[in-house]
């Protein structure tokens, strides 16, 4: 005998409260979800804005227009024999200091970048005739003055900025040097070109090694290999490699490529090899998915008119799967471009002031350069680090954008 159950009285106070409570819980839950999304997105926005705020200043630099009276200066150089060696022996740093003191007062040392003389040297090199006249040359300001001009400096530097502005010798311009120079010890002179070139060379090695191998592996596993314990092992290794922490690849590169094979340390070649082993599984997995999505009817049709299995794959399946494979490759390369830890293991954290000429020269890459600059105590490096991060992020964004564009353009629904 079941108990008789009265119909629910939806109008009762208790029931109405209960329903109101359930709807409130529903709203709270929905709001919590929205909150999570907004919080995550705003963290990203906060990160990007912070980097932009710090980094955009890194692309500009403050310059002081220095009036140099060449004939009157104690410069030990013959205007008719300007060579690199003569310029290096011409005592330029001291002369620059003297000139600055005369023009800007006794504390000029603190106002001028320690490498300001390089601008004067370059000016002489470009036009030796200026040695016979007085010329105004723009030289980089010191880090302290530079920061003060961007209203971040100490009070006395702020005062110096106001004074120099009244004299009309202070100017701020785009820092071309940041794009064309390499690492250095003086934050006013450093640039990213060396690291950028190192990144390009490393990526080139990575691409040349990982793309053919990755595509070949994907083709073999997806098209030809019969299911056996052997292909299982290959498959399991690839999936494992895709999940191994990147620093382990660094350890592998260190013990195999450097200690066993004696390849040059901190070279783009070894960095590329290490990153290629890391990128290959990504390409294989993306490639297999792309190949899998080519419908069997295409293979059957080609086989039906007498093509061999190799012809089917290379003349029909591969061209159709290529956009998908390329998308995966670009994403894998983007990951490799941002990778730092394995490259630290193979010695890419050395101080390298000249851009690498080839893949066996000592090189550094953008993320490692960022890491190295982040350790610098000099305050001027903060904005340089952030500026380098902006360049890196811009490249990653461009690569990911290209991947999305390719996917949208070539996406085929069978």
């Amino acid at each position: 005998m079941s108990a008789v159950r009265n119909p629910t009285d939806w109008k009762s106070e208790a029931m109405r409260k209960r329903i109101a409570g359930r709807y409130a819980a529903e709203r709270r839950f929905k709001f919590a979800g929205l909150f999570a999304v907004v919080l995550s997105a705003s963290f990203l926005a906060f990160l990007l804005i912070t980097m932009m705020g710090n980094g955009l200043r890194g692309f500009t630099r403050t310059e002081i227009a220095l009036k140099v009276d060449f004939p009157a200066s104690p410069l030990l150089i013959d205007p008719n024999a300007i060579t690199d060696e003569a310029l290096n022996n011409a005592n330029l740093p001291m002369v620059t200091g003297e000139v600055a003191k005369k023009a800007l007062g006794d504390k000029a040392d603190a106002l001028l970048s320690p490498t300001a003389w390089i601008s004067i040297r370059d000016a002489i090199k470009a036009d030796p005739k200026i040695l016979s006249r007085t010329e105004t040359i723009n030289v980089p300001a010191s880090t302290g003055l530079d920061l003060a001009a961007k209203s971040q400096g100490s009070p006395e530097m702020e005062a110096a900025v106001t004074r120099l502005k009244q004299q009309g010798v202070l100017s701020t311009g785009f820092n071309w040097n940041f794009l064309s120079a390499s690492d250095g010890t003086d934050p006013t002179q450093v640039g990213i070109w060396g690291a950028f070139k190192g990144s390009l060379l490393t990526m080139l090695v990575t691409l040349i090694l990982s793309f053919p191998v990755g595509v070949a592996t994907a083709l073999y596993l997806e098209e030809y290999a019969r299911k056996s314990w052997w292909t299982d092992i290959i498959e399991v290794s690839i999936n494992n490699l895709a999940a191994v922490p990147s620093i382990i690849f660094g350890l592998l590169g260190l013990s195999i490529f450097l200690n066993l094979a004696h390849l040059p340390r901190s070279a783009a070649l070894v960095g590329g090899l290490t990153l290629a082993l890391m990128t290959m599984p990504v390409i294989v997995i993306a490639g297999r998915n792309a190949i899998k999505s080519v419908p069997p009817s295409i293979r059957d049709a080609a086989l039906g008119i007498g093509a061999s299995p190799v012809q089917v794959v290379f003349q029909h399946v591969l061209p159709l799967a290529l956009p998908g494979i390329l998308t995966g490759t670009i994403i894998g390369m983007a990951r490799a471009l941002g990778e730092t830890a394995p490259l630290l293991m193979i010695g890419m954290r050395a101080f390298i002031a000249t851009p690498p000429g080839g893949i066996t020269d000592p090189a550094t890459v953008l993320p490692v350069q960022i890491f190295l600059w982040s350790d610098e105590v000099s305050r001027g490096f903060v904005e340089k680090t952030s500026a380098a991060i902006i360049v890196l992020l811009a490249f990653l964004l461009a690569m990911n954008g290209l991947a999305i564009y390719l996917r949208n353009k070539f996406e085929t629904r069978w």
Partner: protein
């Protein structure tokens, strides 16, 4: 003769082989067709071209690879046989230094000699390099001609060139797929080998269960006995990667996935999903810099203002928070997948019974999707404990066994970087310890991944 020149020459020969063999096959094909027997020709002319070109190139290149490994030894031998080599010191190290310098000068990569002995050896070196270089080039060219000629004589209408070429293509594909296995074996072997050397110096029990980590004091000669206790590192790794990061990532990731799959309009979803995925695409060095520069000082000031002692500018909390944010997309996309895999009928059933959407999600969808979510979380943990740059830059170096999130702790990956970026001598326990740590990291992440993939896979099959 230099390497690039030989390769260029070989490439030229290969091209000639391809063109001539193809032309010959074409002629034979035309001739065979003229007799009215179309089926007499097996392969397309292009395949004959490839067959001959491959016979020209492959043996010669294989020979060059072998030769470039053998030749340096032969060159050194012939230099040592030279009378000028009699005056070399007996000490193996200075001997090889002098030989190396002489070789650098002889091959033009170094301008002058520091050691007069090596100057004397430059001439013999140059002769020997020339001799063996020319010998190698001649042998390679002879092989190329012989291979090409042999293959060329086999160009006949009924010759199955395509089968042969395709067999090579298949072999290449197989070899490519072996690289994954070789890499895995290489990782395991190098980690095991170096760890074995480490454990011959330090007791594994002390390493795994010791609580004092100070490799620097061991390197300075205070003995290895209790300097390599890795428990503080394991704790730091778990504290940052599995506790703090997950406290951030699981609620945010799960709630984001729920909102985006269940509540958000298609437009919002289309924009927010890639935005969240961008969090995973930001390089970790950028997160590390952000954590060290912005988050960590803010947290320290906050800790000091509420009166916590021992607040450090490098804190577990800063690294863990930022790492948690980095992990959000992993958790949310795994949760997204597993919620989407719950059959629509279960959701509809719950809604039809009068449950609100949030009740359906909490009481039906989440329990049903739980294995997938758990699998995703395990993958995220594995990812977090293998993460390097954030903890290197923001977590600190002091091996503390503390539960205070504002204190500085160190992790396995941080210590690997620390141990291997100083002075490098590969027979000290200090550097080898990095490989032992790497081995532990490798095993733990591997186990986590295997378990996670099992869980996810098993659950997926339940609804099919």
């Amino acid at each position: 003769m230099t390497g690039p020149a030989i390769l260029l020459l070989l490439a030229g020969l290969g091209a000639i082989a391809w063109v001539s063999a193809r032309a010959r096959a074409l002629r034979l094909q035309t001739a065979a067709r003229a007799t009215g027997r179309r089926d007499a020709v097996h392969s397309l002319p292009g395949y004959h071209g490839w067959y001959v070109a491959l016979w020209t190139l492959v043996p010669a290149i294989l020979f060059l690879v072998v030769w470039s490994n053998v030749a340096p030894g032969l060159v050194t031998q012939s230099v040592l046989a030279d009378p000028a080599a009699q005056s070399l010191p007996a000490d193996a190290f200075s001997r090889s230094a002098i030989l190396g310098e002489a070789r650098a000068i002889a091959s033009g990569s170094q301008a002058g000699a520091f050691n007069p002995l090596s100057q004397a050896l430059v001439e013999p070196y140059r002769t020997a390099l020339d001799t063996y270089g020319i010998a190698g080039a001649v042998l390679a060219l002879v092989l190329a001609f012989a291979g090409g000629a042999y293959a060329f004589t086999r160009v006949r209408p009924d010759f199955r060139a395509r089968t042969r070429v395709e067999r090579l293509v298949m072999a290449t594909l197989l070899v490519a797929s072996l690289i994954a296995i070789i890499t895995t074996v290489g990782i395991v072997a190098s980690l095991l080998w170096e760890s074995f050397r480490f454990f011959s110096m330090v007791n594994p029990i002390d390493f795994l269960f010791g609580t004092k980590w100070s490799p620097q004091s061991a390197a300075m000669g205070y003995g290895n006995d209790d300097a390599f206790g890795a428990v503080p590192l394991f704790w730091g790794t778990i504290f940052i990667g599995a506790i703090i990061a997950m406290i951030v990532a699981i609620p945010l990731g799960l709630m984001s996935a729920i909102y985006l799959t269940q509540y958000a309009s298609p437009t919002v979803r289309r924009w927010m999903k890639p935005t969240l995925e961008m969090l995973a695409g930001v390089p970790t060095v950028v997160y590390g810099y952000f954590a060290a520069l912005t988050i960590a000082p803010a947290l320290r000031d906050f800790a000091v203002s509420i009166g916590i002692h021992g607040a450090s500018s490098e804190s577990a909390l800063a690294a863990g928070l930022v790492m948690g944010v980095m992990i959000i997309p992993f958790v949310s996309s795994m949760a997204d997948d597993s919620i989407a895999a719950v059959p629509q009928s279960m959701r509809d059933g719950s809604l039809a019974m009068g449950a609100t959407t949030s009740e359906t999600i909490r009481k039906v969808l989440i329990p049903a999707a739980l294995p997938g979510v758990v699998g995703g979380v395990l993958l995220a943990v594995s990812r977090a404990i293998g993460e390097t740059m954030i903890v290197v830059m923001a977590a600190g170096l002091a091996a503390n066994l503390t539960a205070n999130p504002f204190a500085s702790v160190t992790t396995v990956t941080t210590q690997i970087v620390q141990l291997l970026t100083g002075d490098q001598e590969f027979d000290s326990a200090k550097t080898l310890a990095a490989f032992a740590l790497g081995l532990v990291l490798f095993i733990v992440t591997l186990l986590l991944n295997i378990v996670a993939l099992r869980v996810v896979k098993k659950y997926r099959e339940a609804y099919e």
